[in-house]
């Protein structure tokens, strides 16, 4: 339902002025949980390495394997979770 007056949007102190973009979120997530490494990203083109890492993550987490940053993959990346990496030591 529409509110009677336009909603004011406030940036609260302590909150990020501009949240991470989807790609930034994906890159940090994939590196943090072991699906890719900085060296891999540097070695091949970002798009290729991201797609490969995404596919790996989607397989590991039982998501649809698209290699794309689709909605359900982004949702999974934003879900509360355990900090232990999914791949590697």
């Amino acid at each position: 339902p529409l509110q009677s007056k336009p909603q004011a949007v406030v940036t609260f102190p302590g909150e990020l002025l501009s949240p991470l973009s989807d790609v930034e979120l994906a890159e940090s997530y994939l590196m943090r949980f072991g699906y890719t490494t900085e060296a891999e990203v540097r070695r091949s083109s970002k798009h290729v390495s991201l797609a490969k890492a995404l596919r790996k993550m989607q397989k590991q987490l039982g998501l649809k394997e698209t290699g794309e940053l689709d909605a359900s993959t982004l949702e999974a990346m934003r879900a509360p979770r355990c900090g232990v990496p999914d791949v590697g030591g």
Partner: protein, 583 residues
């Protein structure tokens, strides 16, 4: 399941653990109990034993911390990372850390354990009635000493049972004062304080002096969180101040004004416009039991599983009737073998959890268990017209929850394990039953997930797992697979239905819903859709969803959220007391 490289595991079975510090979100006893139950999840299926020690080095050291907390793997504020743990070994190996920027509960919201009073430490009962008014938080009303208290039953007026709520005026945690309460004002670093403070600390924990002068006496304790303590923001742990002023408006409750994410927040001073002090209001939080059980799996040598329903799956999801998944059992028994206790598949219910429902085997996707087709009508013998109570002693008010709730012919029906009760507005005498589902609708399994009556044809649809039946009176068509309705594999079970008129019914599963065209028995294009996109503010994984008296009801645990046709939640209450109207 996966184990860590090299099958890291403990070389002894009698493990020890120690809780180094406690989150202020929960009473210490609640945290201890949750950790104890979390270890029992694993000891039930292996020869492992876990003993809590209170000093020295334990195998598994447990601590709460936020951001960088000393191991080089910083947490990230509220939500996101919840906890982590290290594989078996000495030192930090085997330890488990929990992010104290999270709001720790038992998964269904604030847990306020009381002390003193006459309720033996029971938790607050919200809402409760005091002098005819309803309260959903701790109050000082009725007292002159400003101590926060609550009733531990629905009505203090009737029962007179109460306890005192966590408050720094009542006690402190940890420190070096044996739980003594704060003394206000107190002097610290030459400054006078009349509230708890984080000054002087880098870990963000609120503390106070337990004498009038910390500089002189060095006596202190950590402040427990009050029930209205905020999470995150820039004043974590401070209580909301009501009313507060925001953009010139006065607010006497949490609000999502000013935010796009809809999260509820409050100010922790009386004027946000001038002081800019704020934090998020308590939500359902994260179950310390479930997260601990997962982290302890790591501490025993299990890595993340890719089985979504497994405890060792990396994402958090709240499960009310927790049961260790076969994948987890196989993993831990691969490392430590079986225990001498009962077979893993028949776990005894945990002391504070509800009895586990028996799981009906679901048919394979290749087709439903029966060969009936849409045209076939299954003839069932006509039972007597009136349902006959099966077991009048089965009191609906004794049930903690129901498999399905729906309105049939204007009367609310409550289904549970092959029985059902009727609460009719027509009978003053309250609840009728228990009746036998099999007598009234023969051929149905004992455990069903959802029921709805088609308003136009009066036919009643039943759902169990991925199967559904359509009853006209006593004769049924089915079971058939719900894929015949056009519902994909992502729906494991239907949790409820909302009749929308014009032959349309919304079917809910998980966090999504489909719109069924009842006439053609097919869901419309463009579905599923996310429940939260339309039904904002209701629990996303409701156990029961039903329409009653033209309002949408979403049940979760013992609560229900009622939503108006304008999609506004206008009431949250107890299924038992408000809908069933149990005494």
């Amino acid at each position: 399941f996966l184990t860590f490289q090299g099958d890291l595991k403990w070389d002894h079975m009698d493990l020890t653990y120690r809780v180094m510090n406690y989150s202020p979100d929960l009473d210490r006893a609640v945290i201890d109990d949750a950790f104890k139950r979390a270890f029992k999840v694993w000891s039930d299926v292996t020869p492992l034993t876990f003993t809590q020690i209170y000093s020295g080095e334990a195998d598994i050291m447990i601590m709460f911390g936020s951001q960088e907390h000393g191991d080089g793997y910083p947490f990230d504020g509220k939500d996101g990372l919840l906890a982590h743990a290290f594989p078996p070994g000495s030192g930090i190996q085997g330890d488990a850390h929990f992010d104290d920027d999270e709001f720790w509960t038992l998964g269904t919201g604030l847990v306020v354990k009381t002390r003193y009073g006459n309720a033996n430490g029971a938790s607050c009962h919200f809402p409760f009635i005091f002098e005819g008014r309803s309260y959903s938080r701790c109050i000082t009303e009725g007292r002159t000493d400003g101590m926060l208290w609550c009733a531990t039953t629905a009505s203090y007026d009737a029962d007179k049972t109460y306890g005192f709520c966590p408050s720094e005026l009542l006690y402190t945690n940890g420190g070096n004062s044996d739980g003594s309460p704060c003394v206000f004002p107190f002097i610290f670093d030459g400054t006078s304080y009349d509230t708890c403070t984080t000054d002087g600390r880098s870990d963000g924990y609120r503390w106070c002096a337990t004498t009038a002068n910390f500089d002189r006496d060095k006596k202190y304790g950590f402040c427990p969180n009050r029930d209205t303590a905020v999470i995150g923001g820039n004043s974590q742990g401070d209580p909301c101040v009501f009313p507060f002023t925001f953009l010139g408006q006065s607010y006497s409750a949490c609000t999502s004004e000013g935010r796009q994410d809809g999260k509820l927040w409050c100010a922790t001073t009386s004027n946000y416009d001038t002081d800019k002090k704020w934090g998020f209001c308590p939500d359902r939080g994260y179950s310390i039991f479930l997260v601990a059980a997962h982290e302890f799996g790591h501490a025993l040598g299990l890595d993340h599983s890719s089985v979504r329903e497994a405890l060792m799956y990396p994402m958090y999801s709240y499960v009310q009737d927790f049961q260790l998944h076969a994948d987890d059992i196989q993993g831990i028994q691969y490392l430590y073998g079986r225990g001498s206790g009962p077979e893993p598949t028949s776990l005894a219910p945990l002391p504070t959890e509800e009895p586990l429902p028996t799981e009906e085997p679901l048919p394979t996707e290749a087709g439903s268990a029966s060969t009936t087709t849409e045209e076939e009508e299954e003839e069932t013998p006509e039972p007597t017209a009136e349902p006959s109570p099966v077991d009048p002693s089965r009191d609906a008010c004794a049930e903690k929850n129901f498999d399905a709730i729906t309105e049939i012919n204007g009367e609310l029906h409550f289904f549970k394990n092959g029985k059902y009760w009727i609460r009719s507005p027509f009978w003053k005498s309250g609840i009728q039953g228990a009746f036998s589902v099999a007598d009234t609708w023969p051929g149905l399994p004992a455990a069903i997930d959802a029921v709805f009556q088609d308003v136009l044809t009066k036919r009643v649809f039943f759902f169990a797992g991925r199967q559904f039946w359509v009853f006209s009176g006593k004769s049924a068509v089915g079971p058939r697979g719900i894929e015949k309705l056009g519902i994909g594999k992502e729906a494991g079970r239907i949790s409820g239905a909302l009749q929308r008129g014009r032959g349309k019914v919304l079917l809910f599963s998980g966090e999504n819903y489909w719109r069924l065209d009842v006439k053609v028995q097919r869901v419309d294009k463009g579905y599923p859709r996310a429940t939260e996109d339309v039904f904002t503010g209701v629990p996303l994984d409701a156990r029961n969803v039903f329409l009653y008296q033209d309002k949408y009801h979403f049940c979760h645990g013992s609560f229900y959220w009622r939503m108006t046709p304008r999609y506004q939640v206008d009431r949250v209450g107890y299924v038992k007391y408000d809908i069933l109207q149990c005494p």
